[in-house]
Symmetry: C2
Subunit: 566 residues, 2 copies
Amino acid sequence: MSKRKKGNDALRLISLGGVDEIGKNMFVLQYGEECLIVDAGLKFPDESMLGVDIVIPDISYLTTNNFNILGVMLTHGHEDHIGALPYILDDLDLPIFGTRLTLGLLEAKLREHPDMRPRLTEVNPDKVLNLSDNFKLSFFRTNHSIPDSVGVAIETPAGLIVYTGDFKFDQTPVDGRITDYHKLAELGRKGVVAALIDSTNADRPGYTLSEKEVGKSINEIFRLSQSRIILATFASNIHRIQQVVNAAVRYERKVCVVGRSIVNSVEIATELGYLKIPDGVMIELDKVKETKPEKMVLITTGSQGEPMSALTRISQSEHRQVEVQPGDTVIIAANPIPGNEKLVARTVNNLFQLKADVIYRPVSGVHVSGHASEEEIKLMLNLLRPKYLIPVHGEFRQMVACSKIAQKLGMPEDNVFLVKPGQVMEFSEGQGRINGSVPAGRILVDGFGVGDVGEVVIRDRHILSEDGIVVIVLAVDPEKGTLLAGPEIVTRGFVYVRESIDLLDNAKESLMRAISRINGVEMQEWNKVKSRIRDAASSFFYEHTGRRPMIMPIIIDVPPKEKSGQ
Amino acid sequence: MSKRKKGNDALRLISLGGVDEIGKNMFVLQYGEECLIVDAGLKFPDESMLGVDIVIPDISYLTTNNFNILGVMLTHGHEDHIGALPYILDDLDLPIFGTRLTLGLLEAKLREHPDMRPRLTEVNPDKVLNLSDNFKLSFFRTNHSIPDSVGVAIETPAGLIVYTGDFKFDQTPVDGRITDYHKLAELGRKGVVAALIDSTNADRPGYTLSEKEVGKSINEIFRLSQSRIILATFASNIHRIQQVVNAAVRYERKVCVVGRSIVNSVEIATELGYLKIPDGVMIELDKVKETKPEKMVLITTGSQGEPMSALTRISQSEHRQVEVQPGDTVIIAANPIPGNEKLVARTVNNLFQLKADVIYRPVSGVHVSGHASEEEIKLMLNLLRPKYLIPVHGEFRQMVACSKIAQKLGMPEDNVFLVKPGQVMEFSEGQGRINGSVPAGRILVDGFGVGDVGEVVIRDRHILSEDGIVVIVLAVDPEKGTLLAGPEIVTRGFVYVRESIDLLDNAKESLMRAISRINGVEMQEWNKVKSRIRDAASSFFYEHTGRRPMIMPIIIDVPPKEKSGQ
């Protein structure tokens, strides 16, 4: 330790989680050679990342350095906080810390990776986790759209760093467990050097409503409904599921949970005591038909219009076991996540076509956010009184909004760090600054491939998706440079071939002319021939169709020796 | 006429405009052999229609029958009401009727088609258009997000049919031209058989705010701002542009209009007197740099985050003439159209990165809708008192909402027709019913191709966009069925080739084994060989990558004769 340069004695704080819009959730705290990871979330690809399944953070900073990594602390069980963990554990065998439900959900997730033997340590707000001389962790309960969420306070040689995790202040949470206001106050009293604060809703004025308000709306729907009810929500929103169960009990309906992920999370939450379902309320899917529709509520996923989800399939009459009956009440208990609006709209339209009554408008009160609005962020800042603020989780616009909120409370703009992934914040002796950066970015996962799909592949997929491909094959005698056969032209995703025979015939003629202008010597230089063919085909097709398909010339060598040898 | 069957004497009303979600704008009224077209809109493709430029209605019902088509009546100048016209005029040489600004915008549009000589007839609310014994048209002024919008009342042998066009009730319109309430009342008094009503916002309670409210917000921003202002809105929203100009005059700023489409519409609207700009207010783009930022407002397009629009390029620092300065105020005076949320968010994030102050939240009051909310639809129904209601323009969910509104006012549910494109509504002797259907649907336009891109091509583009393509080329002696060269494997959009040499080498070996199992006779049956190769490659790549690229085997015949002849 004594050999380290003085500069290393600052606490380094780095967000690795930024993947596209900044601010997804994976943070590294580093002191000397010692590191702590907080959260390890994945992101779902946006529409530009064609064919990509998920996006995870680049952790090469951690894998290529010989750090002593103490472990990963998880604040709650959402995918954008735990989803990258299986990939990280592939490279780094680390202990994992989290609350009971968080670890329960993680274990279920890791069942798909039977070779992994994660070392899990349960934490809770009454515990202090002494990881090393440099990192002492304590926790405070928060309210969010999943139970058992916590924020974490990390005592470091540079002072107290607090990360709220995802939070809102719900004064009447469904499970009665309010935020640890007193702990937050105590942290603020002690003095917080830097706070990483969930800024997802920082651009919304006022307060986020209590989840109990959703309960009221659901109760009202149950009270009035004389038909079957189908409610779609996020699989992990256990509080909301609890409220649906409560309404079902009150209005004497049976509950059936439909969809793999929600069955899964209901099972785990029930087992661990986070969801309380009286005996006899829950029935299996195959018993639904025996139950009177007006005595039934189905809880399912698909509130984002996800193509493979239960509700989407139900709305397309493609679910094997659930069929919408005219008059069914369908509740979409969620707001569309940006980018999903069209998918949700399509589901709603389809459900109306099936003559369901669909409750989907934000004004209907069947959804509230799990993130703090402006006034709650103010309260958090006033409780914690951090010297420095690092807005996290939101897009850049919300990070800016969070910064403005802090400024309204008197924080100097310079004390807010709007950092990009990889930028290093250093804290020592009560001072913070941005000092350089480390490798960071997004890794695309497609099938089994982690990181092998990069810009080149995505760019090609874009070209292919816009105008398709034209493959042009020539067989050439590599010695004489003479054309033996071809050009054969084959297309996909470009034109409807049956109706484009003339076009392709003319293209072939045009290519023959272009090729005939190439002399024998040049013919042996594949790259030149290919580029001539590409140019000729490109202009021909653009002129005749106004499209720019990918042109792929392939020259196949047919050596005369083989020929004569046969 | 006397030879026609009695059944033909009903008035037929058909929506041809439905393209994806139901309800886009093109209607046909038919009486006997006589037809009238009302509106002829295009739609922009949704994200599933890869590579498609625009979507227009299938008009084969009109082109394959020998109707006497009287012309096309246009209600206003938006693309979703006039955009398909150039394509329709390609097939049908028809007179066109519309108000002054509508025709002005159409003429500008048709300048790209110099061969077209459209016969344009200007209409206005004071005119009656006697097209034939069966079709007499009169017009009523409406308020919408473009000036000179009208609704149309069509007197037919089956009674009065009224189409509102796109409308809201703006009691304080920017141009002072309020809706023709008295005409609507008169129509209602005469008796309306069927009304086609804009249901776009039917699922929004209350009233849509007046465009003047936007003016107030804009004024307030101008009053407080000490920096340059950049405001993005729809090019055709002349009222809004007028209000920005008014604010600029009041607060002594110069105005510069940036972006081809908005320059165009400002020019037309000014020429025709719909936009009033005092001398000396407008300056050219190249004079902007000479003007103090706090004395400048730029009006531009890109409020939907459209990739090629001015604001998007500005936000990416890619606009050649406009650069955002820290502190600039950027106003996004629009709500994202469903599907555009991500694009808009990206533009906003980028602008914040450039240290602009961005006003984009719906609560900021810089945008109001151009469509009627629930209470306005009620007022329209109470004025017109139609016997039958046909909700149009909205998605299916809004059509259902419109139907429910009518039912609240006492209309029987059976009197509301929620029709799919092509379904025929028949009206005679005061009675309406749905009776069969005619061909209808969407035609995809891609480059110069109108309709040649169909399901097959789109499906291929989807496969290509997800996992790319693997082309496998073999050269074969067609007589002996022997393999002369190959298999050559070339991929695009599948894996990053430089890092996948082993994978592709192994694939080649695996294919060689598969091919070696094919005997000589089979080798002459291309389809069999291709399907064997396809299967072998498909399993190999799925097993090794978890991806399902398009597999395209190409067999090129290299005849021995040509070979020996050389």
